[in-house]
């Protein structure tokens, strides 16, 4: 594992930059554990001071030091995004692989649920959830609710790959070797969908963080929990742009942009590393891949039905 990270840093610029950016953000958010102040308290320092050597990120109109405030905000936002991404990945991978591998009525039922979830208007439902739960809407609960909406597109993507894998000979081989469906799905097929899982996890984090910021800016969340969204809410509430306390808005925006860029670069480079084709090349299967390809393009010949292939009807021999 360490050797992999070392190789990636040495040979992949995107990974290096992404890793540095994410490391900065994570390190910054970890500072919150050593914060001398409670982020929920107000009027602890002189308000509306611009960035200076004493207050690095300035102070806001509520008398809070933005440096420590920001450490808490980015920590909570990051944790929220990660939680939604992980939860929704678990759902989408499970649904996608099961629908693709088992097929039949299981596939049809799962995909109809999938289509219903796609069609649901997420934002009004989130607002509704807020009005029902009010103060009970903790970060964890909001993450669970959003994870329940964040999986269907990716599940469909994963299903399409799993359908292709089901017809591969090695899947049939695994069946006749007595492997269970669970083992086939999560050991044989999972490596093929991992690149998708990683890249969609990134897109999912951007989506969930964006939505939570929107909710917070509009006030539909627990405003006492410091996050990127609530920072912007209070800045807006105190008319930061009008008053001229621009740093109050700039700090959360810069933080969230750096986070997104870093995560994006990490996802792209990891994607390339984990992709089965590039993995095969590293493992030495490349000679095989290139040697079997024909002059112009691979394939093209009429598919010959085999034991492993799931061919419905053999091609009729024509005169």
């Amino acid at each position: 594992m360490l050797a992999v990270v070392r190789d990636l840093i040495r040979y992949n610029k995107e990974f290096t930059i992404g890793a540095v950016l994410v490391a900065i953000i994570v390190g910054f958010s970890c500072l919150s554990f050593f914060s001398p102040v409670d982020p929920t308290l107000v009027y602890l320092v002189p308000p509306e001071r611009p960035p200076s050597t004493e207050y690095w990120f300035g102070t806001n109109s509520r008398g809070q030091d933005l440096f420590w405030q920001a450490t808490f905000a980015i920590r909570n936002t990051l944790a929220f995004g990660l939680l939604v991404a992980v939860l929704s990945r678990i759902i989408s991978v499970t649904v996608g692989l099961v629908a693709g591998y088992i097929g039949g009525w299981v596939d049809r039922v799962l995909m109809s649920i999938n289509d219903v979830v796609v069609a649901l208007p997420i934002f009004p439902i989130l607002v509704l959830v807020y009005f029902v739960l009010r103060a009970d809407l903790t970060t964890l609960k909001l993450a669970i609710v959003m994870a329940c909406f964040g999986w269907p597109f990716d599940a469909r993507l994963i299903r399409s790959i799993a359908v292709g894998l089901r017809h591969r000979e090695f899947t049939h081989h695994a069946v006749f070797a007595g492997m269970s469906a669970r083992k086939i799905m999560f050991e044989e097929h999972l490596p093929y969908v991992m690149p998708i899982v990683l890249s969609t996890a990134m897109a999912n984090m951007i989506w969930s963080i964006g939505l939570s910021v929107t909710l917070a800016v509009l006030g539909f969340t627990d405003l006492n929990i410091p996050s990127i969204g609530t920072m912007l809410y209070w800045a807006n509430n105190h008319s930061a742009m009008v008053v001229g306390t621009w740093w109050w808005i700039a700090v959360p925006v810069v933080l969230v942009v750096v986070t997104f860029v870093g995560l994006y670069l990490l996802a792209v480079s990891l994607n390339e590393y984990i992709d089965p084709r590039s993995r095969l090349r590293r493992m030495g299967g490349a000679a095989l891949v290139s040697a079997t390809s024909t002059l112009v393009a691979e394939g093209g010949a009429a598919p010959v039905p085999t034991l492993g292939a799931d061919v419905r009807g053999e091609p009729e021999g024509r005169p």
Binding site: Y11, R282, G284, S290, A291, T294, G299, G300, A301, P315
Partner: protein, 343 residues
């Protein structure tokens, strides 16, 4: 001395790859010297990872990274002058395609556009290289189809309306419509059924005779080579190990690999035990030292592990790369009709 249409001298084409610090050099074609004559079918035989596909990629000047020409030279001697596709400007090489140099591929569907009628595909490929007015062009195409016993009706069909064998015949007609001097046939019959395969081979042979052009025919199937090739070159692990006239090579091979390849073929009516070659084809990223066949060779001696045997004449028109080529004996007697050996 017959004229050559292609001369290849010490050609080396390697795949050079680098993935996250793993550098890999695959010597797919290593030091190949051969020439293809006018009006002949030159068969290239080899198994997986023998480098035969890479070799014809270099012939077709279809080289893309990570594949690189590392050394040697390659020259076509066409009627309108000599050309080295890797030294000439790209526009000049492109002008050669289809009119002087064309291909017959394994999968016919990769050439025929599935959503367009065959007529359009002919137009796309052949109209510009031929450079004729439209009416004359179609007249030429139809007479070419007739000569190949294909009805001009195939032009108005979609590819999926044709059977596999018919599609492959259409691609052969397409590849030869401009009367090219050099045709590369890459496993054109591998995906076909036996009955159709024979028809298609007969067609390739006929069209080659009619045009007087040269065909490089690549397949792993020795019995196909026996029927269509005038001369055969045997590739093993990126090198040409033996080359000779078809009958001589099959009846009296002078390389142990060829001898095994010929002897391992089962035939109807033949129940003698077959000797399979042990071991596996070498990994071209780390080929064996010396003769690349030595780990599997029954005749290997000390010298074979260190020195690379050169491809040297062992008979009339017959070359072999083996230190002990004089001691190679055919492992099987070919058939009832005793083949007389030239030279």
């Amino acid at each position: 001395m017959t004229e050559n249409v292609l001369t290849v001298t010490s050609l080396k084409a390697y795949y050079r790859m680098s993935y996250f610090g793993v550098d890999r050099e695959v010597r797919a074609v290593d030091d190949v010297t051969l020439s293809v004559r006018k009006n002949e079918v030159y068969g290239i035989a080899g198994e997986s990872s023998s480098g035969k596909t890479t070799l014809i990629k270099t012939f077709a000047s279809a080289i893309r990274p990570p594949l690189k020409i590392v050394g040697g030279s390659m020259t076509y001697h066409f009627e309108n002058g000599d050309i080295d596709p890797y030294a000439a400007p790209q526009a000049k090489v492109d002008a050669l395609r289809w009119s002087h140099l064309s291909y017959i591929m394994q999968g016919s569907m990769s050439l025929l556009n599935p959503v367009r009628r065959v007529r359009r595909t002919f137009e796309d490929f052949a109209f510009r290289p031929m450079g004729l007015p439209r009416s004359e062009f179609w007249g030429r195409v139809e007479s070419h189809l007739q000569r190949l016993d294909l009805s001009p009706n195939v032009l108005s069909a979609y590819p999926h309306q044709l059977s596999g064998g018919m599609r492959q015949r259409v691609t052969i007609a397409l590849a030869t419509v401009c009367q090219p001097e050099f045709v590369i046939a890459d496993e054109p019959t591998t995906a076909l059924d036996v009955v159709v395969q024979k028809d298609v081979l007969a067609m390739i042979r006929d069209v080659q005779r009619q045009m007087g052009s040269s065909v490089v025919f690549v397949t792993h199937d020795m019995s196909v080579h026996a029927n269509i090739a005038d001369r055969i070159g045997i590739m093993y692990a990126g090198r040409l190990v033996e080359e000779g006239p078809t009958r001589t090579l099959l009846a009296a091979p002078r390389h142990p690999y060829t001898a095994h390849l010929v002897a391992s073929l089962p035939r109807i009516g033949d129940t003698t035990p077959k000797v399979a070659l042990e071991g596996r084809p070498p990994n071209l990223a780390e080929p064996p030292t010396g003769c690349r066949f030595h780990p599997r060779c029954p005749l290997a001696i000390e010298k074979c592990t260190t020195d690379v045997p050169p491809l040297e004449p062992v008979g009339l028109d017959h070359r072999s790369a083996c230190w002990r080529s004089a001691e190679v004996r055919p492992l099987t007697r070919i058939g009832h009709q005793e083949l007389e050996v030239a030279g």
